[in-house]
């Protein structure tokens, strides 16, 4: 019988300090997520310097709490998985340096994990990933279609040419005066409205690329014109119209990719995978087309170390290692 493998994951790429222990890449033994969202809400968005400061203050506390929750020590884990990028460099550094230190002290292998690989592998916590698969990555910084033939074989077949989908949501939220973080509020509001505003379907072409800046501009212009005419914009209807365009283009291009690559498995990854409009829209088209759809539980959609430990398990199995001179990288291709 194979020995169980326990991976300690650490994630600090943006405004969540998180540590988790995952067994065999799929079982969440203990996870602690310390979100700084309430602090950053005062500034209308994440302030990188404040995020870095909070990570330093909290990092050892979060590690300790996770170990206590798991009833384990670092001696009991097989490796330490760490998000090395992409993300806010000052935030990443704190987790990376703490992970280097623990790896050195306990002589444990250090496994570097790409943040988006983490979001993709979050699906393993819900259902074992079956290959080949298509991954739709939707977050504040990414909108990509990634084809995977096997573990850690990432082939990006399309991505956003400008704004990421989460970015577009946040900007639309700002235009209609919703507080930060506005994306989830747009989602909520859309259920109280109707798709009545004429908005363009963004980049409706033959590629797998996305573009959301045109749609975003259309929303801004619409609000602006209404204001000039002294008309009240119906926020609920605007949210519904915007969300309906987004869901339409995401589902359209995703299904096209699945058919062209003859893939039956779709997974969704990233913070915007928590968006209920996108979840429901994908579910509908996947049911219709006989596609196995997996979307992570809501708690694994936003940034967390569970997904890093899960992705770290498969990287560990493949022999991926870093030394204690591991560099944090604000930008890096998915690998």
């Amino acid at each position: 019988m194979n020995k169980d493998v326990y991976i300690l994951g650490i994630e600090s790429s943006c405004d969540e300090t998180s540590v988790s222990i995952v067994k065999n890449g799929c079982e969440d033994i203990a996870t602690v997520v310390l979100s700084q969202m309430d602090t950053h809400a005062n500034f209308g968005g994440v302030v990188p310097e404040i995020a870095s400061r909070m990570h330093v203050e909290n990092i050892t506390l979060v590690i300790e709490e996770c170990l206590t929750k798991a009833g384990m020590t670092i001696k009991d884990v097989d490796a330490i998985a760490i998000t090395y990028g992409p993300g806010l460099i000052g935030s990443l550094l704190v987790g990376v340096v703490a992970a280097q230190t623990l790896s050195y002290i306990y002589d444990k292998p250090l496994v570097p994990v790409h943040h988006i690989a983490g979001h993709i592998y979050a699906n393993n916590l819900t259902r074992k990933m079956e290959f080949p698969l298509m991954a739709l990555v939707v977050s504040g910084g990414h909108t990509e279609l990634v084809y995977m033939e096997d573990n850690y074989s990432f082939k990006k077949i399309g991505g956003t040419l400008d704004d990421a989908v989460g970015e577009a949501y946040d900007k639309v939220a700002r235009v209609i005066d919703l507080p930060y973080p506005g994306g989830p509020l747009v989602d909520k509001l859309s259920y109280e409205g109707k798709d009545v505003y004429q908005l363009p379907l963004p980049l409706d072409d033959d590629t797998y690329n996305f573009s959301f800046s045109g749609l975003k501009s259309a929303v801004i212009n619409l609000v602006h014109n209404c204001n000039q005419r002294g008309e009240m914009i119906n926020k609920e209807n605007l949210a519904a119209s915007f969300q309906s365009r987004v869901v339409e283009i995401l589902t359209k291009k995703t299904i096209k990719a699945l058919k062209e690559y003859n893939v039956k498995n779709l997974i969704v990854a990233g913070g915007v995978a928590a968006n209920s409009g996108i979840r429901n829209g994908l579910k509908k088209v996947c049911d219709k087309n006989g596609i196995n759809l997996t979307i992570p539980e809501l708690k694994y959609c936003t940034d967390n170390a569970t997904m890093i430990a899960s992705a770290g398990y498969f990287a560990y199995k493949l022999g991926r290692r870093a030394n204690i001179d591991l560099k944090a990288m604000s930008n890096d291709n998915l690998k």
Binding site: E49, V97, I324
Partner: protein, 205 residues
């Protein structure tokens, strides 16, 4: 008494291992890029040179600022992680006090770090490291009343400043009996709130 000493608060980095008041490892040099990937390898190198491991040290002393925000965070994160994991004593040291260990022939030392836009992190110490004016974020000229009796030391080539030549053993001896801190509570001493917080304070005034 085995002490690990870390200063990453500026590009001039110190990693030292001190045993019974003697250096058994001393790195003092400039690190201008990728500091986060170079400090742990230096610490590893230090313990390769001695017959004991990091688990055998008694204390960690870490410079926690003021200075480069990123630099300070690297040193503090490493130090608090070691202290927490291995249950070691941890003591924080002021970067300005460390600069003040430079030997001078004036009554006082004024350590300064450029904080830009005419501001510095500065203080006034005497030759025994007693605080005359405590570490602050101030305008260069606000310490001018001490200028006649002082030497200004700074890595940043400020007006009338000389380059520091820090004496790590001097500061270690001064603080060797300081009471240890809870590693979780150890944090950088930036001496300055972030610009975003400054703006928010102004807006709320």
């Amino acid at each position: 008494m085995k002490i690990l000493f870390l200063d990453t608060s500026s590009f001039f980095v110190t990693v030292a291992l001190i045993d019974n008041n003697k250096y058994v490892f001393l790195f003092q040099d400039e690190i201008r890029d990728d500091m986060s990937s170079k400090i742990m390898p230096l610490i590893s190198k230090a313990f390769d040179k001695v017959s004991y491991s990091i688990k055998d040290i008694d204390k960690i002393m870490v410079v926690n600022g003021p200075g480069s925000f990123t630099g300070v965070r690297i040193g503090v994160t490493i130090a608090k992680t070691i202290a927490w994991a291995l249950k070691k004593d941890i003591i924080t040291i002021s970067s300005l006090e460390l600069l003040s260990t430079t030997s001078v022939d004036t009554k006082y030392v004024i350590p300064m770090i450029d904080a830009r836009r005419g501001f510095v992190y500065g203080a006034v110490y005497d030759n025994n490291l007693n605080v005359i004016k405590s570490d602050s974020y101030i305008e260069y000229n606000s310490l001018s009343e001490y200028f006649d009796e002082s030497t200004i030391v700074s890595y940043d080539k400020l007006d009338n400043s000389v380059l520091p030549k820090v004496d790590v053993l001097k500061i270690v001896n001064k603080h060797i009996n300081d009471s240890t801190l809870n590693p979780h509570s150890v944090k950088p001493n930036y001496l300055k709130i972030t610009e975003a917080e400054e703006k928010l304070v102004k807006k709320n005034d």
